[in-house]
Amino acid sequence: MGAPTLTKLFKIRGGVHPDDCKLLSADQPIETLPMPELLHIPLQQHIGAAAVPMVRRGEIVKKGQLLARSQGAISAPVHAPTSGRIMGVGGYPAHHASGLSVRTITLKPDGKDEWRDNTPPVKDPFTLSPEEISKRVAEAGIVGMGGATFPSAVKLNLRKRYALHTLVLNGAECEPYLTCDDRLMREQPSEILDGVALMARALGVEQVLFAIESNKPEAQAAIAEATQAHPNITMVGLPTRYPMGSEKHLVQTLTGKETPARGLTADIGIVVHNVATALAVHEALHHGRPLISRVVTVSGNAINQPRNLRVPLGTPLENLIEHCGGYKQEPARLISGGPMMGQPLPSTRVPVVKGSNGLLALTQDEIQAGHEMPCIRCASCVQACPCGLVPLEMAANIRAGSLDNSVNLGLLDCIACGSCAYVCPSHIPLVQYFNYAKGELASRQRMQHKQGETKRLAEARSQRMEAIKKAKREAMMKRKKEMEAKKKREAEATAAAEAQA
């Protein structure tokens, strides 16, 4: 309301207008969830290599203590959400559609919630160098909270390789139901902006655009007011349209520039971060608190009391549901994240992880699941796709098994936003086709890699065999020769002896 709109906005292609359903939880202030009985903290809560455990069974840890360190360039450490005793390091069902188990640290809270005290917070983080900021962000285990869970420090280091000029704060929260970013922006605008300013410093950019969709007027107002303290940060109101929050489309809306295919927004000088990430940066640098909890929207018509909860990482989902009064009715689907891009969950035992921004229990009526029919080529999906793809043809090719064709049609440019499947009157699970194909392609690539490897091995082996054979032959020849020489010598000797005789 009354929010200043900075520049003219640019149009993006496609997109859809799903019912945003945010009223269910938008007015619920963020509440802190009581500490559960047990925490299950997976070692992999981010994109990249899994963290390496640093604790052993039976060890007592303090809140914020490092539980597992990162390994490799793209990875993130994991910290203890509270103080307590390590019950074990082993397999536990992952927060993932597959229901597979992953290595997880199980922590039994001792109820004291005692902080470790070794990292003294810096007085004024703005005196830190950009390198130092991103180092601390990395140490705090901060990953992108907008869903991608990419280690944020890596993104903050992008200034080394790209000429950056703008940081965009992604407050679009374009997924229906989700209100966690909305609540954060309403409740902690100045903390967020502080984090933003730190990130801008780390990136070395002058201009910061804080983009918020127009269906969150209170958040817009709160941020607009807080920006008065930050002259280089500008609040921008966005039209409400899914997937406005996709970083490439967000950037296009703001600047009119398209990110090159297979490239990063940094290619055009822009880095995008989520608002919750900014808050985490603030917490890490001002208070020395690593990323150990996050805000989760619990919503959906099957939930008794939809809420926004601040939850320690590793809390089983059943605790969240219980805290929200349980089910109104048996949900038809239990989803992590928003209804457009979220993942179905195999059970309520799985823990909250760094990337969980929503837990939705949806009723049959909300899902609008229909019987799958053949594609009628209505082109709704073509019109809806924000990436200019032809989903129906990609899906048809995938169904017919010609994955290469679907790649030629642009499969790898698909951002899996789900707009196409949302509008499809035939209820075709288009996104699943694409996900399947992407996975299958990756698996084939692995196969091919392995084949190259085995080919090398096989060749090496046959060479070795050859060498062995040759060596044997040579040895034999040598022996033969030796024998002959010996014989000859003997013969000579005897001859000589005879001659002598």
Binding site: H96, L100, A400, Q432, N435, Y436, S443, T454, R461
Partner: protein, 176 residues
Amino acid sequence: MTAAILIITALGIAMGTMLGVAARYLAVEDNPLVGEIEELLPGSQCGQCGYPGCTPAAEAVANGEAPVTMCPPGGKALVESLAEKLGVSVDLSDVDEKQPMIAFVHENFCIGCTKCFKRCPTDAILGGPKQIHAVFSDACTGCEKCVDVCPTECIELRVIKPTLQTWYWPEPSKAA
């Protein structure tokens, strides 16, 4: 009528000369197809195709004697690339992809006879004489050669389990 015969004969001779000349001066060497195909094949010389190795298999494919679907280890991806190379169309739905398997040595029964080790075409089995042998999963192609030679029948092929990194959505039409 003799004129007719003469003229057509002349035409025939002229044409024949033309083709003869063309064949001489426009000759092209044999196609390098075999080599190219061999490049594509897995190269593990496992013999599952029914040919003694990948080179004979490549020759057979190039001569059209073997179908592009002949190599089980290559899977669908290989079929596709072969079909592309040869310009033929195949019905991929007929190629049922064998689930990738790897060998697994039951350590309790392994007597360290090294028979499997000698048999494995990709050196995927590690271990010396009288030691317990283990399978190096990244190198094993699941060719089953080691299974038969083991005197204690302690080698078994197992389906490779997906991990979070390798799991992906099933194809919708095949999903439950």
